[in-house]
C-alpha cells in the first residue's frame, strides 16, 4: 500500500474536483502497469454508438451536431472507441489503460453528475479467458480493497448458454438473444414461446388467415408498395410467422429452468449447486457452468471469499448492452446513494458487432469521484 499512499492526494486538497482528479491519477498509475495508455477524442461519431446501443442512447448521452461531420456524441465511455482503434490497428492481444471524462445525461432531479472521470483497464485477446477475468477483477479489487465494499457478480454467459440449450427453433433463440438485455421483452418472448401468452387478436387473425389462404393468398391482396421494405421481405416474414405457429411450445421444465436462473440471487459460494440443478434441465449448459465453477475456485484461491460475494442471475442485464460473460460491480457499503465504484465484465461479441472478428475481451472502469469521497469520509 506504500506505493498507493505516495500517489494519493495531499491531505490539504479539499476541492472535490481536485480530489477526484488526484484519485484518478493514482488509479491510472495502478491500471497502467503492463498496459498501453489509451486516449480518444471527447467528440465521437454518434452513428457507431447509436447503431450499437440503439436510439435509447440519445436519452443517456449528449448528442450534438457539426455542420460537416454530422451527429457527434460526447464520449459516454472509452470501451467502444478503444476497441475500434484496436481493431483498426490490426487487433490481437493487448492490454490498455485510460483515464478521462465521460458524459452521461441524468434523470431530472437525480442529483448525479453528468460529467465525471472514469479510469479503466481492458484486456483484449489472450489465450486464457479465465486468467484474464481473474487478473482484471483482482486489479480493480486491489485498488479499492481498503474501502468497505460489497461485491456483486453475474454471468451473462450462463444465460446465453441457457438460451442456446432450449429445445426450439433457431428463430426463437435468435429472438431471445436479441432481447437478452431487455428483461421485460425477454420475459414476454419466453411466455409466448412457452404457449403461456396468447398473441394479440390482430396477430391471431392474421395467422388464421395465413392458415386458410397461405402466404400467396395473403400477398395477393396487397397493393402498391412504397418505401424500402420490399414485397419479398413481407412474404418472407409471413412464411416465418407460419413456421412459428407450427413450432411446438417450449417445454415447461426448460422454461422453468431459465426462470430459475434469472431469479437466482445468493452468495457466490452457494450458486454452484443451484446452477448444476438448472443445467441438468438444460443439457448443453455444462460448459458454461464448468467455466463458472472454475472462476469461483480461482477467486477463492486469490483470497476473495465466495461467501461474501453476491451472485445474481440477472446482474448485468440492464446496463449497457454488450456484456456477455462474467460481470461484476463493486458498491460502497452503507452508501446506496453512491453509484457503483467500479463495474466490469466480459464482452467477447462486441468486436464482431463493430465489424471485426470475435475477440475475447474483459474490461472494467472505476469512478474516482465517489472513491475519493469515501476515502475522505474514512479518514
Amino acid at each position: 500500500m506504500a506505493k498507493a499512499d505516495a500517489m494519493s492526494a495531499p491531505a490539504a486538497i479539499a476541492d472535490p474536483a481536485a480530489r477526484e482528479k488526484a484519485e484518478a491519477g493514482a488509479l491510472l498509475a495502478r491500471f497502467a502497469e503492463g498496459a498501453t495508455l489509451f486516449d480518444t477524442d471527447i467528440l465521437q461519431p454518434a452513428e457507431t454508438l447509436l447503431d450499437l446501443y440503439g436510439e435509447d442512447m440519445r436519452a443517456r448521452a449528449y448528442v450534438t451536431r457539426d455542420p460537416m461531420r454530422g451527429e457527434l456524441m460526447l464520449r459516454p465511455d472509452f470501451t467502444v472507441p478503444l476497441l475500434k482503434a484496436h481493431l483498426a490497428a490490426g487487433g490481437g492481444t493487448a492490454c490498455y489503460a485510460y483515464a478521462g471524462k465521460v458524459f452521461r445525461m441524468q434523470e431530472p432531479g437525480s442529483g448525479r453528475p453528468s460529467e465525471y472521470l472514469q479510469v479503466g483497464r481492458e484486456h483484449l485477446g489472450g489465450e486464457d479467458p479465465l486468467a484474464e477475468e481473474i487478473a482484471l477483477f483482482l486489479k480493480v479489487h486491489e485498488a479499492l480493497a481498503d474501502l468497505p465494499l460489497r461485491i456483486e457478480t453475474g454471468d451473462v454467459g450462463l444465460l446465453v448458454a441457457a438460451v442456446e440449450a432450449l429445445d426450439t427453433s433457431r428463430a426463437r433463440k435468435d429472438a431471445l438473444m436479441r432481447h437478452l438485455w431487455r428483461p421485460v421483452r425477454f420475459r414476454e418472448l419466453v411466455e409466448r414461446f412457452g404457449g403461456r401468452r396468447a398473441p394479440h387478436p390482430a396477430q391471431a387473425a392474421l395467422l388464421a388467415r395465413l392458415e386458410r389462404e397461405g402466404v400467396e393468398g395473403v400477398m395477393a391482396g396487397i397493393g402498391e408498395i412504397h418505401g424500402l421494405r420490399e414485397r419479398d421481405e413481407i412474404a418472407e416474414r409471413l412464411e416465418a410467422l407460419l413456421e412459428e405457429t407450427r413450432t411446438p411450445p417450449l417445454s415447461a421444465a426448460r422454461l422453468e429452468a431459465v426462470e430459475r436462473l434469472l431469479a437466482l440471487d445468493c452468495p457466490l459460494g452457494e450458486a454452484l449447486p443451484a446452477l448444476e440443478t438448472i443445467a441438468a434441465r438444460l443439457p448443453g449448459m455444462e460448459r458454461a457452468v464448468g467455466h463458472f465453477a472454475r472462476r469461483v475456485e480461482a477467486l477463492a484461491g486469490a483470497g476473495i471469499d465466495p461467501r461474501k460475494v453476491r451472485f445474481a442471475g440477472s446482474f448485468g442485464r440492464t446496463s449497457l448492452e454488450y456484456y456477455d460473460g462474467f460481470v461484476f460491480g463493486l458498491m460502497a457499503c452503507d452508501h446506496p446513494d453512491l453509484p457503483p465504484l467500479a463495474t466490469g465484465g466480459r464482452y467477447d461479441a462486441l468486436a464482431a458487432r463493430l465489424g471485426g472478428a470475435r475477440l475475447p475481451a474483459v474490461g472494467a472502469v472505476v469512478r474516482p469521484g465517489p472513491v475519493a469521497l469515501l476515502r475522505e469520509g474514512g479518514r
Binding site: E55, H226, L238
Partner: protein, 236 residues
C-alpha cells in the same frame, strides 16, 4: 400584481380557447389590428393575456416565464423534461383532440402490432444493414414508448411536417405522428398499429409550478379559479 396567461396565437385553437373562457365568464379578445399579436381579458382584474405558438407555451410553462398556458398534452410531454414536477393541468378543455400514433404502410400485411414492428426492425437491419427508420417530430415521446415496449433496431429521423410523405420518399419506413381523423394517414396508404397509440392529446389549461407565485399572482389566480370553478393545487 398580475398573472400571465398564454393562449395559442392563431387559428382554431385560439377561437376554441376564447370560447371556452367566454362560456365561463371571462372574455378574451384580441386588441389592435387583426394582425397584431396582442390580447386582453375582461372579467378578472390583473390577468395579462399573451398570444404565443403552442410549442412555445409549453417551453415557457417549464421555465416559469408564464403562470398559465393553454397548449396540447402532446407538446407538454414532448417539450418538458419533467412535466409532473414543472406543470399541473387545471382543466382539459375538450377540444384540439389528437392522437400520437405509430403507423406503417398498409401493404405491410404482416405488421399489425408494435411486437410485429420490432420483429420487422430486426429483419430489416439484417437485410438492409441499417436500422429501420421512424419519422417523427415527437422524439422523446416516441423513444420512451418504444423503450417501454422493448423495441430495438430502429432509428428516429426528424420530420417537422408532411411526415406521412416520408415513406413514399424513402426517407423512413414507418412514422409516428399526430392524427385526429386518420384521413391523411389513409390517403397516404398508412395504417395505425393496433397497439400503437402513444398518447391521447387535447388542449389543456396548465399551471406552471416554476413561475413566480407572488402573493399578488396568487390572488389573481384564486379569483380566476373561482370564476372558472376550478380546484387549485398546493403551490410551493
Amino acid at each position: 400584481m398580475s398573472l400571465r396567461l398564454a393562449v395559442p396565437s392563431k387559428g382554431r385553437l385560439q377561437e376554441a380557447t376564447f370560447d371556452w373562457f367566454g362560456a365561463r365568464g371571462i372574455i378574451l379578445r384580441r386588441t389592435g389590428s387583426g394582425r397584431e399579436y396582442a390580447a386582453a381579458a375582461d372579467g378578472v382584474a390583473g390577468l395579462v393575456v399573451e398570444l404565443l405558438p403552442a410549442s412555445e407555451i409549453a417551453r415557457d410553462l417549464a421555465s416559469g416565464r408564464i403562470h398559465l398556458g393553454v397548449t396540447g398534452t402532446d407538446l407538454v410531454n414532448e417539450k418538458i423534461p419533467d412535466p409532473g414536477r414543472d406543470v399541473h393541468s387545471l382543466a382539459e378543455l375538450g377540444f384540439g383532440h389528437a392522437d400520437l400514433v405509430l403507423a406503417v404502410p398498409e401493404a405491410w400485411v404482416d405488421v399489425n402490432t408494435v411486437d410485429d414492428l420490432d420483429d420487422v426492425a430486426a429483419r430489416f437491419r439484417r437485410r438492409h444493414g441499417r436500422r429501420l427508420r421512424i419519422a417523427t417530430k415527437y422524439h422523446r415521446l416516441v423513444r420512451d414508448f418504444l423503450r417501454v415496449k422493448g423495441v430495438a433496431d430502429y432509428a428516429l429521423v426528424d420530420s417537422q411536417g408532411a411526415t406521412e410523405g416520408t415513406i413514399r420518399n424513402c426517407t423512413a419506413e414507418a412514422i409516428a405522428d399526430i392524427t385526429s381523423t386518420g384521413e391523411t394517414l389513409r390517403a397516404n396508404r398508412l395504417k395505425i398499429l393496433e397497439d400503437g397509440l402513444i398518447l391521447q392529446s387535447q388542449a389543456e389549461l396548465f399551471l406552471s409550478r416554476a413561475a413566480g407565485w407572488t402573493p399578488g399572482a396568487r390572488a389573481v389566480l384564486e379569483r380566476l379559479a373561482d370564476t372558472l370553478a376550478l380546484p387549485l393545487p398546493e403551490l410551493a
